[in-house]
Subunit: 397 residues, 2 copies
């Protein structure tokens, strides 16, 4: 076979697209016997297998000509209308996307050029960093913790810079689990309105609260305030199934139109069967389903926190999530989460080192633990193994 | 509501993303009563509704934890392995994409920068032009007809230019229906190998031949010649269902790796259920299904050609397709296909004006007729209406 130097054939842009070293590491977590806190994989016991089987069969038999044919780029209208009704917007403001990951890519395509400033929390969702990075922007970051981004730091950045958009996950942030309190949401919105800025609010975990209810989203607050600059993203991945890849963006009509034009060029439309299936599944017992999901994750979070409180050595800090799927951990300064990862894998337990969640670097002593996938016993045993790995590493240090 | 000037908030890149005027026109074709030759919508009577209902239910019941969970970016391994076996390649060389449209976007992302030269046939697939245009390349074109691209013209272009890739649809081209003969494929491959160039071969219509069999693809010829530079695209859209959005790219491992990295950032993975469903559907009677599909389109093409031969006035030229879904028509010079479109819509018949298929402009007197969707009687009646519209326009001219 003749040899081609593919790297010389790719464009400049291809250099920005790299295999995440972290994703390579994560392949190790699929080894049999490994208890994994790594992937943010929803609890498989919550998947609506039987209902989906029944509904999918009915859809294909009765409306197969629609489910199997090309569909509109905007999405399957009854699903858009259902979402609009759920969120209190109009169906025309809803665009169905092939997972929220696609919405992130479309936002990059529409808003970002090379060297465009874009503002993220540090840490922020790795998949967003990856999607945006392909467009070559300049990342601005502000530190974020249990109460969301540092708003004083954000105010300082906004004095100097005008980011194309702010990408924020106000509720149960991935990876930090942070939740922006209501007052801070209001202050944030004021800053955004004053600057006439665009915010992308990623609300994938909106329904996974452990307390009495949801805080209003930035999007809801912005609508109340008559401000059209918040693009709202959410998904059925955490409440029905991630494998179906059905998510949605909600925004001002002009933004939705441009995102729709961009989507036409990237996959024509999200699979019709999947949209019809989601639409059928949300018709029945949806509030009860959400309650069941919240109860499950609440119990799993409790199991993890109890195990961490029992097992973790001094000097290790971790969050106590009020919702979502993640505990965020800080090791004592100087200790490397990647080094711990190698020790942990030897003990058959896995997590995600925190470094790649920082678009501007740093975070080497941080890590993300997902309690979403394993059962309570697996969680307890995994934390035991993790503590053992950590104590081994501390003994060496 | 406060007003934002969205056009000033979007990036430079967003200007390259436009609503195709043609797609706006096409909305008119969905009016009740319109007989449409416009969309390349596969014949709905060929959809495997019952089998899909049965298989989808079985998959969701028995393997719901896999079908509904996140999956690998590369694709569902059993489907990759099946495709590899079908095409005589290795599974690692196969990437599952969310429709071929996604493969086109990924190729743009990986190979094209602003002002990169990229070579297309004129006319070529509108969706490819749209996908590539988002990356701001410089389009080079060579005229193409019933026997594919003009290879002398191509040779001339390649003396002056080094395109990042050549995008070709060698078999039953969309929109022209063209088929590159074997000798020309061999000459083309020689030119490509001599230049060390990359070819993207879009073979969406590979199975829709009306004669005795398929010509070898450029990809197959390149493998025989030991040349790794052909990226092969095909899809289950025309042989099972477009609505499922399951397609694939096959290429040298280094190209597949880079495309996979790019795909991770754009939708994480193609829906798992859809891949499992396609895998289940190709296990049974697949050769018989392909025969049935070929027979159906062969009959539809015949119905359209008989009607055209009967109804069309002098001076109108059209192709006699040997496969695929399209007849390509040239009106007498000076006659506008868009003007005809307006007349035709008034007569309740629709088609796609050819202009947008020409990346470099031109083709105003051309149009595409799809015989895929309607039955023989609808085709005959549609052609009658089209002839009436055309005669009306000629009477005015």
């Amino acid at each position: 076979m003749k040899t081609l130097e593919w790297n010389t054939l790719f464009g400049e842009g291809a250099r920005r697209i790299q295999a995440s070293t972290i994703r390579e590491l994560l392949k190790l977590t699929q080894r049999p016997g490994v208890l994994s806190f790594a992937g943010g994989l929803p609890a498989p016991e919550l998947f609506p297998k039987e209902e989906a089987a029944h509904k999918a069969a009915a859809i294909l038999k009765e409306k197969g000509e629609v489910a199997l044919q090309y569909g509109p780029t905007e999405g399957y209208f009854p699903l858009r209308a259902w979402i609009a009704d759920w969120l209190g917007v109009s169906p025309e403001e809803v665009l169905i996307t092939t997972g929220s990951q696609q919405a992130l890519d479309l936002l990059g395509k529409v808003f970002l050029d090379e060297e465009s400033p874009v503002l993220l929390e540090a840490p922020s969702y790795m998949g967003a960093i990856q999607a945006f990075r392909a467009y070559g922007p300049r990342f601005l970051t502000v530190p974020a913790g249990e109460k969301g981004p540092d708003l004083d730091a954000l105010e300082e950045v906004l004095k100097r810079e005008r980011p194309r958009f702010l990408y924020l996950i106000p509720s149960f942030q991935n990876p930090s689990g942070g939740l922006i309190p209501l007052k801070a949401r209001e202050r944030l919105l004021e800053m955004i309105m004053e600057g006439g800025l665009v915010v992308v609010e990623d609300d994938a975990y909106r329904e996974l609260y452990f307390g009495d209810g949801r805080l209003p989203s930035l999007f809801e607050l912005s609508r109340e305030a008559g401000y059209p600059g918040v693009v709202y993203l959410s998904s059925f991945s955490k409440i029905l199934s991630p494998g179906l890849r059905v998510a949605f963006a909600v925004a001002h009509l002009e933004a939705i139109l441009k995102l729709t034009q961009a989507k036409q060029g990237v996959d024509l439309h999200t699979p019709v069967l999947n949209q019809m299936l989601v639409h059928a599944l949300v018709q029945e017992d949806f509030p009860e389903r959400l309650e069941r999901i919240r109860a499950t994750y609440r119990a799993k979070a409790k199991a993890m926190l109890e195990a961490l409180d029992r097992e973790m050595p001094e000097g290790v800090r971790y969050t106590r999530p009020q919702g979502g799927m993640f505990v965020w951990m800080e090791l004592p300064q100087g200790l490397s989460a990647e080094a711990l990862f190698r020790e942990a894998i030897a003990q058959d337990v896995a997590f995600v080192p925190g470094g790649p969640f920082f678009a501007g670097g740093g975070g080497e002593n941080t890590l993300r633990l997902s309690y979403a996938t394993l059962g309570p016993e697996g969680i307890a045993e995994g934390v035991r193994r993790l503590a053992k790995a950590l104590k081994g590493l501390l003994a060496l240090a």
